[in-house]
Symmetry: C2
Subunit: 74 residues, 2 copies
């Protein structure tokens, strides 16, 4: 993960927190100075380390939202 620069432009929501304090978060992030993308990712406490994650466009978030709304999650 060396040499990756990022800037969290907007903290949108915390999805979960593990017993060790890692959080799964949805944020709006600029990677290496590029245009901002939505980012769903695990983070160590205080964002000291980043875990696995994926980036999503706004269109993908909309489709994901509609997909989740179509599920019977309770």
């Amino acid at each position: 993960m060396a040499n990756i620069k990022y800037e969290i432009l907007e903290k949108i929501g915390k999805i979960s927190e593990s017993p060790k304090g890692w959080t799964k978060e949805l944020n709006l992030i600029s990677w290496n100075g590029r245009a901002a993308k939505y980012d769903l990712r695990d983070w160590a406490p205080d964002h000291e380390k980043m875990g696995k994650g994926i980036t999503l466009t706004k269109e993908e978030l909309k489709r994901l939202r509609d997909t989740l709304n179509g599920m019977n999650l309770g």
Copy 2:
């Protein structure tokens, strides 16, 4: 990615498709014979290769759904 076995138990939804045919999908997957997890991931055409992705629990999907519903995505 060698030696990772998985079984797609349920194809829930396609979130997007790239010009090269890679798809971002939400599926219910059992990894290495373990209990099924929700999985948001990029896949090559015909699922020949898997790209980056994350697994989520049902509770995380619910929180994610509620977070997305609170956004003004249009």
